[in-house]
């Protein structure tokens, strides 16, 4: 008898704020309770917690939620790839018998930490980047490289140089995200269409990244509940199967400049492992979530996934393939670029809705198989392959 793979049984998120007066942990508690309610369950069912790298702890979450006898926790320290990485950890724990039902939660003050305001509390513990942060502080900041646009821009420029990707390709991705956001009631950019003229007129932050190549700084939290297929059968919620999951790191993982190939990213290894576990390929996907921190980085991930060949992502996106009705709708919620930046857990939540058939105006008809990427720190990558259970 083949054991059925673990499942996602509940999802929840807060509104997407550009300036919340509440701490990330408070937002995470809201999202966690929403995910548990969606699972048709309560805190008593939880025996494992995967918190994000920073802001809070399994202990703080357990106490505030009333989770007793928590027997498992693990933190994925992959920056923005941590959401998918944590789902993988939770699935491994459930499959291995270390836990039965695991709460995976992320949240942050991505808008407010850059804009301190009177009366808005500052979390005592921010995002934990450990050794990558040391390299940023000690080696990159003295060169004027302070933030992610500057760390990834040389990757994007090398991508342009080697494969002829250009700003029209990047613009096409940004505009597609905005079209998707127009169908999403909670997207930050729902009512703000983006034209090519708008894109080309937007200021450059760090070449080649214009403002509209960059994701939205957001205060928000999101959570999912992972359990076994057997337990899910007893709950009044629609499960989505975790068919495969992988993580990967570029080499060396702790520095960007030292790589022999700037375009070899963590997702290459992660995708190979996740697809092999699931027994599928990119060609089998009905829809995908791609971690769109920056347009060019999303295009590069489409190629790393195997959706298209090296240098082909721009043409693929300009053809309309990632739009609703296209061959592979991507980020039907609007993504980090136009819904908001919730570390890609918003991509997972959208994928669960797609595979449940509850994505409303954004629904990809007949969606049965999807995958969601993660990208974080200096190009760490994750992938989870999800399947409809209906």
């Amino acid at each position: 008898m083949v054991t059925k793979p673990p499942v996602i049984i509940g999802v929840g998120e807060t509104p997407f704020h550009r300036g919340s007066p509440r701490l990330p942990v408070e937002l995470m508690l809201d999202a966690s309770l929403a995910a548990l309610a969606d699972a048709g369950s309560g805190p008593s069912a939880i025996d494992g917690i995967c918190p994000p790298p920073g802001y809070t702890s399994a202990e703080e979450l357990a106490t505030n939620l009333g989770v007793v006898d928590c027997g498992f926790s693990a933190t994925s320290s992959l920056g923005g790839a941590s959401s998918v990485g944590a789902i993988r950890n939770a699935a491994l724990a459930v499959a291995g018998g270390a836990a039965t039902t695991v709460l995976v939660v992320v949240g942050w003050n991505g808008y407010s930490w850059l804009r301190p305001r009177d009366g808005v509390p500052v979390p005592r513990h921010g995002l934990a980047m450990t050794s990558a942060q040391d390299i940023v502080t000690d080696v990159m900041v003295p060169q004027g490289a302070i933030g992610p646009p500057q760390f990834y821009a040389p990757v994007a420029n090398r991508y342009r140089y080697e494969h002829g990707i250009d700003e029209l390709d990047a613009a096409a991705f940004a505009m597609a995200m905005r079209r998707h956001a127009a169908r999403n009631p909670i997207a930050l950019m729902r009512d703000k269409p983006l034209t090519l003229e708008d894109y080309l007129a937007s200021p450059v932050i760090a070449d080649p990244f214009r403002v509209f190549d960059c994701c939205l700084e957001t205060d928000a939290a999101a959570a999912v509940v992972v359990t076994s297929a057997e337990r899910a059968a007893d709950l009044d919620a629609t499960a989505v199967a975790i068919l495969g999951a992988g993580e990967g790191r570029p080499d060396p993982p702790d520095d960007v400049a030292g790589r022999v190939d700037l375009l070899r990213i963590g997702l290459h290894g992660a995708a190979a492992r996740a697809f092999a576990q699931a027994g599928v390929t990119a060609a089998d996907l009905d829809t995908a979530g791609v971690y769109d921190c920056f347009t060019y980085i999303a295009l590069l991930q489409l190629e790393a996934l195997g959706v298209c060949g090296p240098g082909e992502a721009g043409e693929f996106v300009r053809s309309g393939a990632i739009d609703l009705g296209g061959s592979l709708p991507v980020n039907t919620h609007g993504g980090l670029l136009s819904q908001g930046h919730m570390w890609g857990m918003n991509h997972v939540i959208e994928m669960v809705r797609q595979l449940r058939g509850t994505a409303g105006a954004s629904q990809v008809q007949g969606a049965q198989l999807g995958a969601v990427t993660g990208w974080g720190d200096f190009g760490d990558g994750t992938l989870v392959v999800l399947g409809a259970d209906r």
Partner: protein, 142 residues
């Protein structure tokens, strides 16, 4: 020329030792292990042979631009007067690659494949300048 802040880096451990070695050598250095394997940024052991015996060895300073970015909006107030400024991924002749500011009056002209020279300021912080004779020495003749 923009005004890039020249300050002592707030580094610690091996990275602080690297800046000290650069300042002492008046040149960009990189770690080389006892078996001759280069590495950068500074780390405890060699990833090739796992040796923990190494020294900071000066690089010739000859390098090419592997990739680049020009920052046009300051991401921190400390760099408000510095924009626009170029940062490149420098491929040194010896092998190590590093993020380094390219001091140039024409950041818009930076391109992959450009020949550059690496140097250090009084704190041992590396920077690059366009190599003497370049672009006349450009390999593709442009």
């Amino acid at each position: 020329m923009n005004s890039f802040p020249e300050t002592e880096p707030a580094a610690s451990g091996l990275h602080a030792a690297w800046y000290s070695a650069n300042a002492a050598a008046a040149a960009v250095t990189a770690q080389r292990c006892e078996n001759g394997h280069w590495r950068h940024p500074a780390r405890y052991r060699c990833a090739v042979c796992q040796s923990d015996r190494w020294s900071f060895v000066p690089l010739s300073g000859s390098a090419v631009v592997e990739s680049w970015t020009v920052t046009r909006r300051p991401l921190h107030v400390a760099f408000a007067e510095a924009v626009p400024y170029a940062i490149v991924v420098a491929q040194s002749d010896e092998g190590p690659r590093l993020f380094v500011q390219l001091r140039t009056a024409t950041p818009d002209a930076v391109a992959i494949g450009d020949s550059i020279s690496l140097a250090v300021d009084r704190f041992g912080v590396p920077y690059a300048v366009v190599a003497e004779g370049f672009p006349a020495a450009r390999a593709d003749g442009t």
